[in-house]
């Protein structure tokens, strides 16, 4: 048994970590938080130059073809550094969808540009303040083009390309839409995590083309989400580790009652529980990484398992990191809230914990 990442894959991770330590510190995250930048375009450029956006994209389409195991570890570092870049939208969602469902022409046109970071892609699904289902999508494609609106689209304000779930003649389709085209309007929206760009997209007779099979949009979305969930889970685990490290560092240095606060069992045990949640999630992520990279039939169950435990771990670690810091943890000045915000943003991006708990049990029932 070799249940670990290879030296080559660890090298990709280390290279990513080194770059982000140098170029994407908390000051860089705060430039987006405070509205100086819409996203960290300079970091994004560096990510592109390193070829990270093309980590799992085939060489034939301009990628590095280092595989999904490497991409998992890149994702972990993106999470650890709370990177304010559209990496998840463009790489785990748009590039994956194009690779899975695109025609050769679509892949040839878009994947090299996504790999090069020149094109940012995203996925647009949610329309209302309820969980999306196959029945409540009202965006529609007719002879007059694509019409309707998407309420919350991650990186929607900066993306060039969106995969839009919309109703066609045969049911739900996944449509490719160039957002600079006619009939597309975007409006920036405020969210719980201002370090990530988010927008409402409105379509009024916009041009679009089918991605994959007509009427298969919902099924394609579920397949895409099963793969993306693994990568999101790695981001979450990376963030959880960073939040735990921050809590431990503070508890070692901060004194109260004449002793370091980390010596109090009330806090020590809280941090032990953060560690436990993190390690359970990390191990589940390893298994899901294997399932993703080997396209195993276990993927839906493994992905849901990793996603559920990674969401729990990041939410717990970011929440209790604030608790360890006490009042200072609730200030804008301390970085605790950056993890807290990101953990809750990532938790909802592919559907929240309740959605993935249901997916997990469905996959379990199918596996039985």
């Amino acid at each position: 048994m070799d249940f670990d990442f290879s030296e080559e894959e660890r090298l990709v991770q280390e290279q990513t970590a080194r770059f982000l330590r140098d170029r994407c510190d908390m000051a860089a995250v705060r430039r987006v938080l405070d509205g100086e930048q819409v996203y960290a375009s300079d970091v994004w450029q560096g990510v592109a130059e390193l070829g990270l956006a093309g980590t799992a994209i085939a060489e034939a389409y301009g990628g590095v073809e280092a595989g999904h195991l490497s991409l998992c570890l890149v994702a972990q570092e993106m999470g650890a550094h709370v990177a304010p870049v559209p990496f998840s939208s463009s790489v785990y969602l748009a590039a994956e969808a194009l690779s899975l469902f695109g025609s050769d022409a679509q892949k040839s046109r878009w994947l090299p540009q996504i790999a090069a970071g020149e094109v940012i892609g995203t996925v647009a699904v949610n329309e209302t303040l309820s969980q999306p289902t196959a029945d409540n999508i009202t965006c529609a494609v007719t002879a007059g083009g694509l019409s309707g609106s998407k309420l919350a689209v991650a990186d929607g304000g900066i993306a060039h390309l969106a995969l839009v779930l919309a109703r066609g003649e045969d049911g739900l389709d996944m449509r490719l839409v160039e957002l600079a085209g006619k009939g597309v309007q975007r409006a920036a929206v405020d969210t719980v995590d201002p370090t990530r760009n988010t927008a409402t997209l409105s379509f009024d007779g916009a041009d679009s083309e089918l991605l994959g099979d007509a009427g298969q949009g919902w099924a394609q979305l579920q397949r895409l989400y099963d793969r993306a969930a693994v990568l999101f889970a790695f981001e979450q685990v990376g963030g959880a580790q960073a939040a735990l490290d921050m809590a431990v560092g503070y508890a070692q240095e901060r004194f109260a009652f004449g002793r370091p606060i980390g010596s109090f069992q009330a806090l020590k045990h809280m941090m032990a529980d953060m560690y436990v949640a993190l390690k359970l999630a990390e191990s589940n992520c390893y298994y899901a990484a294997w399932a993703l990279a080997s396209d195993a039939p276990e993927l839906p169950l493994a992905a849901a398992t990793a996603r559920v435990s990674a969401t729990q771990a990041y939410q717990l670690c970011s929440r209790d990191n604030i608790q360890v810091h006490g009042g200072m943890g609730f200030t804008w000045e301390f970085d605790c809230h950056l993890y807290y915000r990101r953990s809750n943003y990532l938790a909802l991006q592919l559907g929240g914990l309740s959605v993935w708990e249901n997916k997990l049990v469905d996959a379990l029932a199918r596996a039985a």
Partner: protein
């Protein structure tokens, strides 16, 4: 990343599988498989006899205590071979419960601190199950605070004379020998006045009294020492070195117990597949689904963490610190799972008659045995301290007894 054996591992697995096929006590298979948590079902056969017979057969074929050197009754196998053996032994491994403490903790301690003569005399019979060992550590005043123990050992000629009481001694009533930690000097700090011995459990003055537990069984005992004499030659490590020796034992305890500890989650999955709640299949109920997902993810996390440890062993590395979470997660998880498994069955789930209750009363057995999992071999609270201090590097707690001579430490009574 892959889950395949190396060629050498595959060859060893095939060899082991063939031997087990040909030699395992198959007539016990179904009974063993239906054993509930904390109970060993040997289908009416005397469990001690059955356990010793299987252990002897394994030892004769070189499959006992695989990690030990051959001259001490082991196989000199690699850690990964030992793991493969455990996977293949499967349900028959339940017969090994009688020997876990002796082989998992006393053996390694003897190996590290015993004389060559003692090792050759005692280890092979410990490996073959001919002799059973127990570990006499915990006391009424020394549990989580083990170094607070009070059992005295006083030198008298070439002997030591032991007086005091141990408690929570697993399997003492079946044991031939035990390792015993005592206080030899109460005037120095508590960790410094301890000394380790081993003794014949049939020595005059040893009185073993089984403890009736919450679940009605008596796996644990009180052991009283009334002027029990132990030759100085049976001392393990130096006088006053007992704490260091005990750390060897306890390190092995956490490895042994944290390994493949049950959670009850597979049993719950099985239960909800066939059960109806609120007029529909339990597995379709929203409350059931949410708990199932949460608990499945935790149990999977433990399984995948174990796989990481096995992978490290396979490469000749030492498993990482994440391995320390096993018992902490599993204990509380089983308690929750047991309660919920019964909840879904209604008031009838209070019944404990294995002939009537679901799955031979497996959830009821878990309910009544799981509190002990959260205490034995390091309480949940001690384990959190260990994770906090040794894994995360948080500062030690302030100790009221630090550096204080043992006989001046406040006791509260």
């Amino acid at each position: 990343m892959n889950f395949n054996d190396t060629p050498a591992e595959a060859a060893f697995r095939a060899e082991v599988r063939a031997w087990i096929d040909a030699n395992a006590p198959r007539h016990l298979h179904d009974a063993l498989a239906s054993s509930t948590f904390g109970g060993l079902n040997t289908g009416g056969e005397d469990p001690i006899t059955a356990a010793k017979a299987w252990q002897k057969k394994k030892a004769e074929a070189g499959y006992a205590c695989l990690l030990w050197p051959t001259e001490y009754g082991g196989r000199g196998a690699s850690p990964i071979e030992s793991v493969i053996w455990g996977q293949e032994e499967g349900v028959y491994g339940k017969l090994g419960g009688l020997f876990i403490i002796g082989q998992g903790m006393c053996g390694p301690t003897l190996m590290a601190y015993g004389s060559e003569e003692h090792k050759r005399r005692y280890l092979p019979k410990l490996a073959s199950g001919e002799e059973v060992w127990c570990q006499l550590f915990s006391e009424p005043h020394g549990g989580s605070d083990l170094a607070g123990l009070r059992t005295r050992a006083e030198k008298d000629g070439d002997d030591w004379v032991i007086n005091g009481q141990k408690i929570w001694t697993s399997g003492a009533q079946h044991s031939d020998y035990g390792i015993l930690i005592t206080r030899t000097d109460p005037t120095v700090a508590k960790h410094k006045g301890l000394t380790m011995f081993f003794l014949d459990m049939r020595s005059p003055g040893v009185d073993i009294r089984p403890i009736k537990q919450v679940n009605g069984q008596s796996g644990f005992n009180e052991v009283y020492f009334d002027n029990v004499r132990i030759p100085d030659a049976q001392r393990l490590g130096g006088v006053g070195e007992g704490w260091r020796v005990s750390l060897t034992t306890l390190m092995n305890e956490r490895m042994a117990i944290g390994g493949g500890i049950p959670t009850g989650v597979p049993e719950l999955l099985e239960l909800v597949r066939d059960l109806a709640v609120q007029g529909g299949p339990a597995v379709d109920d929203a409350a059931v689904r949410s708990k199932l997902a949460d608990w499945y993810a935790k149990a999977a996390g433990l399984r995948n963490t174990a796989s990481r440890a096995i992978s490290a062993l396979s490469k000749g590395d030492i498993p990482g610190p994440e391995n320390s979470i096993g018992k902490l997660v599993a204990g509380g998880l089983m308690q929750d799972v047991a309660k919920f498994g019964m909840d879904l069955q209604g008031f009838g789930a209070v019944l404990t008659d294995p002939a009537i209750a679901e799955g031979a009363a497996r959830f009821q057995a878990m309910l009544l045995r799981s509190p002990a999992v959260r205490i034995e071999g390091g309480t949940d609270q001690v384990l959190r301290n260990i994770i906090g201090e040794r894994v995360l590097g948080l500062p030690d707690d302030m100790r009221a007894d630090k550096g204080v001579p043992f006989n001046e430490i406040p006791t509260g009574n």
